[in-house]
């Protein structure tokens, strides 16, 4: 059963040469156009013609150099960004664990954030309250449950995000370098959790630069370079191709 379908996905960003975020700037810009100066911006295609599918229970790695479109791809699957062409279909409850966080508000306390996040993930407040202690326990942040999120370190925020996300019982995990900031003990704990998820047939898309992690964990891997999908297939082959690709540049 196909859980994620990415069909001919294109995503572009506009990079204005002069960024205008106010109406005043836009009016001034329009006047300049009348004077013959052109408003210019570059189009930057972050993803070009991406095609792949993920089956139920599969773990997929996404590798590629910085700026190759990995995070953009995850955000499009998570429906945070919308494609410019093509389409992405994902069925089931998605838990995106993106760089530094899952969607917490810095001015709210840990407990308040867990409640809001839980309801975004479709959980009832009573459910969240029941699971609160195991969330806090996994993150090791029981002492900080009444602290504002902004007062936690980035590592603690990530631990919290991860711990809360896994307790909301999603079908699909989108993980973007999330483990990079955790300490060794926590990374180990997460690895064990991942193994449980695999056994529970959860679908996982993992963006990572840690090739050994991808090798160990993902059956298939997508290799992106400058927004294009260079290859998609068995992790061993794809990783080799990536290593060759990087070597070829040197």
């Amino acid at each position: 059963m196909q859980v994620i379908q990415v069909e001919d996905l294109w995503k572009k960003f506009k990079i204005p040469h002069e960024r205008r975020t106010t109406i005043l700037e836009n009016v001034a810009g329009a006047l300049q156009i009348l004077e013959g100066k052109r408003f210019t911006y570059e189009e930057f295609w972050a993803l070009k013609a991406i095609n792949f599918t993920v089956n139920h229970g599969e773990s997929i790695g996404v590798i590629g150099e910085n700026g190759s479109g990995k995070s953009t791809l995850l955000k499009v699957i998570a429906n945070i960004l919308r494609p410019d062409r093509g389409r992405v279909k994902a069925s089931g409850k998605i838990a995106p664990i993106l760089e530094l966080g899952v969607g917490f508000h810095p001015d709210l306390t840990v407990k308040e954030n867990i409640l809001v996040y839980g309801s975004i993930m479709g959980l009832k407040n009573s459910d969240v309250k029941r699971r609160m202690s195991s969330m806090l326990e996994f993150s090791g942040l029981e002492r900080f449950k009444d602290a504002k999120l902004k007062n936690l370190s980035s590592g603690m925020q990530m631990r919290l995000g991860f711990s809360v996300a896994i307790e909301t019982n999603p079908d699909i995990f989108l993980i973007d370098e999330a483990l990079a900031v955790g300490d060794m003990e926590f990374q180990q704990k997460c690895m064990n959790k991942f193994k449980d998820f695999k056994e529970e047939k959860k679908t996982i898309v993992l963006v990572s630069h840690a090739l050994n992690l991808v090798n160990e964990f993902c059956e298939k891997t997508v290799f992106l370079s400058r927004g294009e999908m260079i290859s998609f297939g068995k992790t061993g082959n794809t990783v080799n191709e990536y290593v060759k690709h990087v070597g070829g540049h040197n």
Partner: protein, 251 residues
């Protein structure tokens, strides 16, 4: 909609907490503001300028409360998307829920404001009649209007960050375009038709009718408010749907 009930509740509570957090007096500030304004304006208008309106403090405060519900509600909504950028850039949920929650938090705030100032109004000589029971209906109609305007303002403010300055000025103009510090009878005959089409004028007049003049608002009052509210809701919905897909990029 119902699947998001709990989310809307949590987001509303969050908005409400954030609004009053970090201030010792918290909610009291939102009471002091209209009271201070009432005292200043009463001093200026009935003592210095002698406008000769009977019981000017009640005349003013009833209108001021209805106006503040609108002005604070719409101003707060301007930041309902950009103020939640940590959520918008990290996880998907229907973004208009943020606007609704901001409006609901304001509804709670304004209702408390009304409730707390009612004793003061009575002390100042306001006569409570059965007409006062219509107040929730007027507030509900006003809420639809606020929600419609907010659905236009909040997404535009994501793309154009000076929209809140523009809205500030618009509200200042609106304050004097509505019969808050003066009576509608001052408006010259030939302008009255256009003047009375303003839904906020109707809301303020309706509030004043039930709390100050002790009469019933007319059917036309309610029709204009509801019709303009629903029209703005439709426009807001269309604008919101158009701008929503690129929120996470523009924020």
């Amino acid at each position: 909609m119902f699947q998001y009930g709990e989310l809307v509740r949590n987001l509303t509570i969050k908005e409400f907490k954030l609004r009053y957090r970090n201030s010792v007096l918290g909610f009291v500030w939102s009471l002091l503001n209209p009271l201070a304004m009432m005292i200043i304006l009463t001093l200026v208008f009935s003592t210095l300028l002698r406008v000769g309106i009977e019981n000017f403090p009640v005349f003013l405060l009833t209108a001021l409360l209805a106006w503040r519900f609108f002005s604070i509600g719409t101003s707060m909504s301007l930041s309902s998307i950009i103020g939640n950028s940590p959520l918008v850039t990290k996880i998907y949920f229907p973004r208009w829920l943020l606007v609704l929650s901001s409006n609901l938090a304001n509804l709670i705030g304004s209702s408390l404001e009304f409730a707390a100032l009612f004793p003061i109004l009575i002390f100042l000589g306001m006569k409570i009649t059965f007409f006062a029971l219509l107040l929730p209906v007027i507030l509900l109609f006003e809420f639809i209007l606020i929600f419609g305007v907010s659905l236009i303002l909040a997404p535009l403010n994501v793309y154009y960050r000076d929209f809140n300055q523009i809205w500030d000025i618009t509200l200042q103009i609106g304050f004097f375009l509505c019969p808050i510090i003066y009576s509608i009878s001052l408006i010259p005959e030939r302008y009255i038709l256009a003047y009375a089409l303003n839904p906020m004028t109707r809301i303020i007049e309706a509030t004043r009718k039930i709390l100050y003049y002790n009469t019933l608002p007319t059917f036309v009052d309610f029709t204009i408010v509801l019709a303009s509210g629903l029209l703005l809701l439709l426009i807001g919905y269309l604008i919101f749907c158009k701008l929503e897909p690129r929120f996470a990029e523009e924020i």
